[in-house]
Every structure is written in C-alpha cells, then in structure tokens.
C-alpha cells in the first residue's frame, strides 16, 4: 500500500505520549521498590519517608492518567489496537498503583527492621523474595516500554519460580521460635505476602500487555490468585 497521510496524527501522538507517561509512572514505582529494598536492609527512616512522598506522586499520576484515558475514549472513540491500548493502560496503571501500595506495606515495617533481621534463615529468604519480586516487576516494566510480547510471556513463568521462594518463606516463618517469634512472624508474613503480591501484579501487567499486543481474549482472564 502506498504511503498516505495519516488521518489522525494528533491522536496517535497522544497515544505515544500516554505510553511514555505510563512508563514514567512505572519508573516512579520502581524507585519506590528500590527504597523498599533499602528499608528492608537498613531500616532507614529517611528512605521510608521518601517512599511515602513518592507514593503520593504515584497516586496522583494514576488519577491524571485515568482521566486522560476517559477523555481519549470519549473524544476519539478508539477502535481495534487503539481501543485495546487505552483500555490496557487503564488496567495497567491500576496494577502499578497497587504495586506502589504494596511496597509501602513493606516500608511501613521500617521500625521493626532490626528485630526482623535477627531471624536468621527466614530473613534471608524474605530478602530473596524481595529481590525476585523486584526483578519480576522490572521485567514487566521493560516489557511495557519495549511492548515486547516475548518478555510479557516470560513473566508468567518467572512468577511461578517466585512462588517456590514464597512457600519456603512460609515454612521458615512456621519454624520461628523464641520470645519475639510471634511479632517477627507477623512482620515477616506481612512483608512476604506484599512482595509476593507485587510479583503477581507484575505477571498481570504481562498478561494485559499480551492482550494489548495479540488481541486474544484469553489474556484478559489473568487475575491475582
């Protein structure tokens, strides 16, 4: 087909901008995940405070991008891949926002960090769960910025390997003993569960992306289990 002037140039530029804005929101979440990692390792309160401030920014981005999508739906009546794109953005930004909130659950444990870190093997496994979850999230973010079907597909498999670490964490928590065992177990469970959910939400971002790229309704079915 011979090159013809695009009919809706401005609209497609806006979609490009939207993709970049989602990426920017994803980077903000990533920064908070890095802070989460720091808080887990150091219990640093200043880092925790920075994470709270950043989460407000993430929430604001979620609101403004949602409004942007509604506006584009109303004004442009997108169809086919454009419609899938706008709808996928709506779903992905709510996943990003959720990942941000889950990171904060871990960050809120900063005052407990010295106690939790004293739990030996269980603590090491928790740190690994954290590293794996963040790695998974980064794959999701890379998949989004490159709109890469291969990376998006990989996420489902990666998520299953994290589940093994999480099971290990649970059994380590069950083995805890000593006078502070209950407090430690509660803190570890809250953190472990949040990190595992971060991995789940990253896998869902992968599924949303697979739907966006392929248009196959099967990918709409992925949910948090």
């Amino acid at each position: 087909m011979e090159p013809v002037e695009p009919m809706r140039h401005g609209f497609h530029e806006e979609l490009d901008q939207l993709r970049l804005q989602v990426e920017l929101m994803g980077v903000r979440v990533d920064e908070n995940l890095e802070r989460t990692r720091t808080v887990l390792r150091t219990g640093d309160v200043a880092t925790a405070d920075a994470a709270y401030a950043c989460d407000d920014e993430i929430d604001a981005m979620n609101v403004s991008l949602t409004e942007r999508c509604y506006l584009l739906l109303g004004r442009e009546s997108p169809v086919a891949s454009d419609l899938r794109f706008v709808v996928s953005v709506l779903r992905i930004i709510s996943e990003l926002e959720r990942v941000g909130d889950l990171a904060l659950r871990v960050v809120k444990l900063a005052p407990e960090q010295p106690l939790l870190a004293s739990s030996g093997d269980a603590w090491d496994v928790l740190l690994t769960v954290g590293d794996e979850a963040i790695e998974l999230y980064r794959t999701a973010l890379r998949a989004w910025s490159s709109q890469d079907l291969g990376l998006a597909t990989e996420l489902a498999t990666q998520c299953r390997s994290l589940d093994l670490y999480y099971e290990r964490l649970i059994s380590e928590i069950q083995r805890l003993d000593g006078p502070e065992a209950v407090r430690i177990a509660m803190g570890m469970f809250v953190a472990g569960r949040a990190l595992e959910r971060i991995a789940d939400h990253s896998a869902i971002i992968g599924a949303r992306l697979r739907y966006l790229i392929t248009g196959e309704a099967a990918h709409l079915a992925a949910e948090v289990r």
Binding site: M1, E2, P3, V4, E5, P6, M7, R8, F11, H12, S77, P78, V79, A80, S81, D82, L83, R84, G215, A217
Partner: protein, 292 residues
Amino acid sequence: MVANTTTKLTEPTNLDPNVDVTPEIPDRPDGSEREVVFDVSDLSVYYGAFRAVRDVDISVHRHEITAFIGPSGCGKTTVLRCLNRMNDLIEIARVEGKVTYHGVDLYDREVNPVEVRRRIGMVFQKPNPFPKSIYDNVAYGPKIAGAKGNMDDIVEKALRGAGLWDEVRSRLKASAMSLSGGQQQRLCIARAIATDPEVLLMDEPCSALDPIATARIEDLMQEIKDKYTIVIVTHNMQQAARVSDRTAFFTTEVNPESDTRTGLLVEVDSTDKMFSNPSDERTENYVTGRFG
C-alpha cells in the same frame, strides 16, 4: 455511609435476558450457517477500459446488516450497485464475475432487471423524493408494480415500517418537499419498502443528515432488520460499528502503468472482530485512522 450489614444481596431482577455476557464462541467464523442472500465471486467492474473494482468475493446473509467501509474511490458503492443491477443504467459499465441472488445468477439474460430492483430496493445518499405528495411518493412503486390490495393500507404499512406514519398521517397530501431532510430520507425508505422488497441497499443514507436524524435512521435499521436484509455503504466507521453485523473493508491500489486506482475487497468479518482485532493490517490501519 455506614454499610448495612443485615441487607442481603440479591440478584437484580431487571436484567435484560437478551444481553448475554458469557463469551461468544465463534461457531460460524465464515457465517456459513446463515442463509446466503447474495454470493459474489471474482467480481470486477469496468467503466470502459478502466477497471474500477477487482476480485471481490463476499456473501451477504439474510436478516443481517452488512456494512461496506473504505476510503473514497475504493469501489464500495460500485459493488453495492452491482447487487441490484443499477450499474446497467451506466452505458459504459461492465460487470465480470458472478453475483448470485438466492443461487440465481443476477446477470443471467433471463433475469428482468426491473423485477430485480423491486425485490432489492435502494436508498440513496441524498434524500430524493419525487416532487409529489407524501402519499404519491409511497404509492408510486406499488402502482407501477401493479400491486393488488388497498393502496391506502399499503401506504400506511410502508410509512409505519419507516417510522414516519405518526409524523405525517395528518398531511399525506402535503408535498414531500415540505418534510425535513431526515423525514425525506425515511420517506425514501418507505418508498423502497412499499414494493415489499427482501433487500434494502443503502448508499450512505445518513451522510446528508444531522446527528439526530442519523440516529433515527440507525434505530430504524435495527427495527426493520428482522424483515429485510440490509447492505449499507457508509463513510462513518462508527456508524458501521454501531449498526452492522458484518463489515467489509475495501481499499484502493494504484495501477502504476496508468496512474489510476482500482478498488478491492480487503477483508470481511463480523463487525465485532473488524473493530476489535481485524486480521488484515490494512484494515487495522484504516479503522484506527493510521492511513486515509
């Protein structure tokens, strides 16, 4: 607000049973189950030596609305006009390939084009009522066709069918020209259905109408599709998405040796598929506005 925890959740009672939210299983991807009204194969249309459209293969199903979309000059109106032999009226037009109507070759020598046009009615882009009364506009076709029965009843039935009766019943003898654009177009639909056709061909029937009159015609199409098979050419993609069951996308390609354009059919599928995940990249690019 405090949630009332004693209130038991019940299923809503006003659910529309016709709205099925379970996923659709495509059991007839080629629409083969539906009765085929038109079967077009290898259709090419020439104006003199110039080939306007080539290689069109499409079937039109009974009691469905089929929409033709595509950029200007892609041949959608030309193909539409082949379906009731309107191209016969253009001296230099020549049709190659096969168009069957219920299995009968529409272009067979034995076939009477006047009878074809009685069974396959047409509504045009611009409302074109005759400069006569509302009544006479509708009665004209049945009179020519030698319709039996009470003409008043025939006229009323057609006007009701076109959703115009209540607006004009008290002034049937008034000039059709006194009607608004939207009313005139519905009068043309009444005129087309007065001869009791099976198929309605509509060539951009709303392009001269305002949004309200357009919505009225679109509603009317939904109301009458149980009785008629409808093929509509439209430049308005949202209209195709709203009203049609199946959509055919046509495009054009440049003939390098003559710098002319020939239209061709790219893809035909269920409208849902065409506007959510079309198979052909050219369709995707057109419906999303990536080329015009």
